[in-house]
C-alpha cells in the first residue's frame, strides 16, 4: 500500500515538473517573440539616427534606470520569499515592486512631457492650412526649417524628427509593458493576499516576476541607446 502511494506521489511530482518545464519554455518563447519587436525598435533607432542623439534629461534617465533596477531586486526578493514560504515578505516586496514600477512609468511620462527633439519652438508644432496658392507639398522639411528660422511665423509643418519618432516609439512600447507588468503584479499581490501560493506551487509569482525582469532586461539596452550614445 505504501509502495503504491509512494509511486502515486512520484508520478504527481514528475507531472508537476513536466508542467513547470512546459510553462517555462512557453514563457521564454514569449520573451523571444517580444525580443524581436524590441530588437526591431532598437535597430530602427540606429538606422534613423546612427549613433547621434538629441538632448535628453540625463538625471531623469539615470534615475528611472536605477528605480527599474531596484524594482527587479524587490521582485526577485518576492519570488525567493514565496519559495521559502515567507508570504508576508513576498507581499511587501510585490508592493514595493508595484510602487517602483509606477514611479518608473510616471518618470517616462514626465520625460514625454519635457522632451522636444527639434520641436522646441511652438511654431514648429503649429499645423495650419497652407496659404492660398501655396502648394501643400511644397516640402514639409523646408517648411520646418523656415519655421525654426522665423519662430513667429505660422507655417504648415508636420515633420517629426527621426530621433523623436524612435524615442517615443521605444519608450512608449516599453512603458506599455511596464504598465501591463504593474497590473500583473497587482493581481499576483492580491492572490498572495488570498493565500493562493505556497512553496510548492508559485508559478503565478514566478511567471510575473520573470516578465518584470524581462521588462528590465529590455531597458538595459534601451537606456544606453536613448540616453548615453554620443
Amino acid at each position: 500500500m505504501s509502495t503504491a502511494s509512494a509511486s502515486t506521489a512520484h508520478v504527481g511530482a514528475s507531472h508537476r515538473l513536466d508542467r513547470l518545464r512546459v510553462n517555462r519554455v512557453g514563457l521564454w518563447l514569449f520573451f523571444f517573440s517580444e525580443s524581436l519587436i524590441f530588437g526591431l525598435l532598437l535597430s530602427s533607432r540606429f538606422f534613423l539616427e546612427g549613433i547621434e542623439r538629441e538632448h535628453v534629461d540625463q538625471v531623469l534617465g539615470l534615475g528611472i534606470t536605477i528605480i527599474l533596477l531596484l524594482s527587479s531586486l524587490t521582485a526577485f526578493t518576492a519570488e525567493t520569499a514565496i519559495r521559502n514560504g515567507n508570504r508576508a515578505l513576498c507581499q511587501w516586496m510585490l508592493l514595493a515592486t508595484i510602487l517602483l514600477g509606477t514611479i518608473f512609468a510616471v518618470g517616462v511620462g514626465f520625460e514625454w512631457a519635457t522632451a522636444h527633439f527639434g520641436r522646441s519652438t511652438p511654431s514648429d508644432l503649429v499645423i495650419s492650412e497652407p496659404a492660398e496658392g501655396e502648394e501643400a507639398a511644397a516640402g514639409e522639411h523646408g517648411e520646418c526649417e523656415r519655421a525654426r528660422a522665423n519662430p513667429d511665423q505660422e507655417v504648415h509643418c508636420v515633420h517629426a524628427p527621426a530621433y523623436g519618432t524612435a524615442f517615443f516609439a521605444m519608450t512608449g512600447t516599453h512603458a506599455t509593458h511596464v504598465v501591463s507588468g504593474v497590473i500583473m503584479l497587482v493581481f499576483a499581490w492580491y492572490m498572495v493576499l488570498r493565500g493562493n501560493f505556497s512553496p510548492n506551487s508559485y508559478w503565478g509569482i514566478e511567471g510575473t516576476v520573470k516578465y518584470w525582469h524581462f521588462v528590465d532586461l529590455v531597458w538595459v539596452f534601451f537606456y544606453p541607446a536613448l540616453y548615453l550614445v554620443t
Partner: protein
C-alpha cells in the same frame, strides 16, 4: 565565485554588480570622447548586465533543470 551562496545572496550580489555597471556606463558615456569606443563600451556593459539578469534573476539555465528547485 558564487557557487557556495544561497539563491538570495546570489541575487543580491548580482544586483550590486548591476548597480556598479549602470553607474559605470553613465560615467563612461560622459567621460569618453571617442564615439566608437563609447559605443563599444556601452554595448559590452549592456550585454554583461543582460547576462547577469538572465542568469541570476530569470534563472535562464533552470529551464532545462527544473528539478533542481523545490516548486
Amino acid at each position: 565565485m558564487m557557487k557556495n551562496l544561497s539563491v538570495m545572496q546570489k541575487g543580491m550580489v548580482a544586483a550590486v554588480f548591476l548597480t556598479i555597471l549602470t553607474v559605470a556606463e553613465y560615467f563612461f558615456a560622459v567621460e569618453i570622447g571617442d564615439d566608437l569606443v563609447r559605443f563599444i563600451g556601452l554595448a559590452v556593459a549592456a550585454v554583461l548586465k543582460a547576462a547577469l539578469i538572465m542568469e541570476y534573476f530569470m534563472h535562464f539555465t533552470n529551464i532545462f533543470h527544473p528539478s533542481s528547485e523545490a516548486h
